[in-house]
């Protein structure tokens, strides 16, 4: 096992709460009676449904196609009937008698597909980054065709507290992860593969190391257990020692990163032709009776998962999708699991912080915690008075929104929310400036076109007048006028 080359700057060590689920093997969920599939499970525009209400669909059948850039197709995880389609979701009433009635998948032999074919198949399978960002994997892999990739990093860090799904995947499905890695090697033509795992997961490290022994150029890297070690930029810095320049992609430094769950999805798609329809999530928190790691179909309502995990111990004070640091709080327990949901936390009041809000005393803890080495206290001072230019200069657009600064702030200042809002406003300003420039060019072009058309019309009129056979009346008038002008000039 290799050690990290550089320990990333900053970072925090929250209570991990991973012991609630780290020893629990993955449980496969029974089919729920309905699935709610959001149309937007990726970075781009919502997908377009290709089915209608009342249609019977089989498992793995395409129900929505991608809609433009960074938009991915969606497949039915289980067989059933489309019961509702609105602008956000497709709801399937599951056929409980035969939910796994599949439309059929085409397996492919190893090395049978070309690089382009593999990327195309990954796109058609609707695979997106399953670590949470939901960036279309096919688009990310196409980068490897434009840039020279020498290093592939598989992200097994799982730095967020409570989450253990990737840990269990590495322990139980290591061979499928390796399958996915081999496909990724073929696509990216990377020389070296590193599997980054935090040192608080010794069983996962042992499992992956055993599998790596048989491979050349594949090694496990033990990473310091800090949050946010799983963030792509910090992972690249720790494993390779290189930093990704601001505004550039990881491919610019020759690195491509993929999550372990995404690797498994790639393996399933390329080897067995199965689209992305299920995923492993961690359901945890003190409000659920039996915290577990579960294999659930995409679109399964959280309430159904909770019911199969022993039900609720108490009413949760908050439901969080993802980890506690970057997860989104929701208020509907029937909300579905999506492709990017890595965990569902049902937290009680005791597990939630209630810090005392106060004023910034410039203690500087936020500077010590920031993994991007920014100065949150100065940035928030500028954002409070809407000084967006100065805030952008200080690097707010580089902020990961990881929440480390807000975690350590003794005054409980909502730093992450300020930076989220600041980035949004700066993007709006830049967009407005670009739009203004564009519309003015359009308006100038239109004016030019009008003038040109008017001039052409004049020229055509004049030309027509010149070539017309002169009539008598005209010629008389012409003679008179020429005579008049001759008199004048004389």
């Amino acid at each position: 096992m290799l050690k990290a080359q550089i320990r990333p700057h900053g970072g925090i060590h929250p209570d991990s709460h991973k012991q609630l689920t780290s020893q629990n093997p993955v449980i496969t969920m029974q089919a729920p009676w309905r699935l709610i599939l959001p149309l937007k499970q990726h970075a781009g525009a919502p997908a377009l449904p290709v089915v209608e209400v009342g249609d019977e669909v089989k498992a793995d059948q395409l129900i929505a196609t991608g809609n433009g850039r960074f938009s991915m197709p969606i497949h039915a995880p289980l067989a059933g009937q489309i019961s509702a389609i609105d602008q956000n979701n497709i709801t399937i009433k599951v056929d409980m008698k035969n939910p796994r009635n599949s439309v059929g998948n085409t397996p492919h032999a190893n090395h049978a597909l070309s690089r382009d074919e593999m990327i195309e198949l990954i796109e058609q399978s609707g695979i997106v980054g399953m670590g949470g960002a939901m960036f279309p994997t096919a688009d990310k892999l196409r980068l490897s065709q434009k840039y020279l990739i020498d290093t592939l990093i598989i992200n097994g860090s799982e730095c967020e507290p409570y989450l253990t799904c990737d840990d269990r995947l590495m322990q139980e499905q290591g061979d499928r992860i390796m399958g996915g890695i081999r496909y990724l090697q073929q696509i990216t033509l990377a020389d070296k593969v590193f599997i980054g795992i935090e040192e608080n997961k010794p069983a996962a490290i042992a499992a992956m190391e055993a599998l790596c022994k048989a491979e050349e150029n594949m090694q496990v890297v033990g990473l310091p257990a800090l949050y946010p070690m799983g963030s792509e930029k910090q992972l690249i810095e720790a494993v390779t020692g290189r930093q990704v320049p601001s505004g550039k992609l990881s491919a610019d430094v020759g690195v491509l990163v993929q999550n372990v769950a995404t690797s498994i999805a790639i393996f399933e798609a390329l080897r067995f032709g199965r689209p992305l329809t299920h995923r492993v999530i961690t359901i945890s928190g003190d409000a659920v009776e039996v915290p577990s790691n579960v294999l659930a179909p995409i679109g399964m309502p959280i309430s159904e998962i909770v019911a199969q995990c022993g039900g609720l111990k108490t009413t949760p004070a908050r439901i969080v999708l993802g980890g506690p640091m970057m997860g989104r709080a929701i208020n509907d327990i029937h909300a579905p699991v999506t492709k990017g949901t890595s965990g569902v936390l049902l937290l009680t009041e005791d597990e939630l912080p209630n810090p005392k809000a106060s004023a910034c005393v410039r203690c500087g803890r936020c500077i010590g915690a920031c993994p991007m080495s920014l100065t949150p206290l100065d940035m928030v001072a500028e954002l409070k008075v809407d000084n967006f230019d100065k805030a952008a200069e200080m690097g707010v657009m580089d902020c990961l929104l990881c929440g480390s600064c807000a975690y350590v702030c003794p005054a409980a200042i909502p730093l992450t929310q300020y930076f989220d809002w600041g980035k949004q406003e700066i993007n709006k300003i830049r967009f407005a400036e670009q739009k203004t420039a564009r519309t003015c060019l359009n308006s100038a072009a239109r004016r030019e076109r009008m003038e040109r058309e008017a001039a052409e019309k004049e020229a055509a009129k004049a030309a027509k007048a010149a070539t017309r056979r002169p009539s008598r009346r005209n010629s008389a008038a012409a003679t008179n006028s020429t005579a008049a002008t001759e008199e004048e000039s004389a």
Binding site: R318, Y418, W421, K435, T439, A444
Partner: protein, 183 residues
Amino acid sequence: MLTLLYLFAIPLLAACIGYALGYAAIHLKVEGDPLVDEISALLPNGQCGQCGYPGCSQAAKAMACGEAPPDVCPPGGSALAQKVAAVLGVTLDSNGMKGPQVAAIAMDGCDGCGRCIKQCSYDAIVGATRQLHGVIAEACTGCGACVSVCPHNGISLYPDPAFMSRVSKPGAIKPAALEVKNA
């Protein structure tokens, strides 16, 4: 002799300073109106004429002397209006500002007469004659010229979706209680 010097010291000093100021006022005078130049630099300078002035420099002059309000430029939108207001040191009347807007043509009303295409100075409307017309939101500045010419009142302005705010400034609005809903 010394008394005379004491008596005239201050008037002498005042006279010297006055002369220096007068010299500066004449020989170090700044040409042109820097305020108009500053405003002109902020404007898009596309000479589209939507403000009603023949060109952007005329609009800048009008804004500088207060003849035109800071939000007179449609492509600039509220971002530009705020910048100009800041330069002029005036407060912007937010009541009139509705934020960036774009036009949309109602499908059922449109008969394809094409009056809106002729009116739009940003080429943001597309459509063949006697066919349904549509507005390209990315090119539309929300100036509203098409709204008045449509004979069927089929065009309306709505907030530009590209400027929708997902996150609000902390402390601006009190967050609503997030009660968990159960079955």
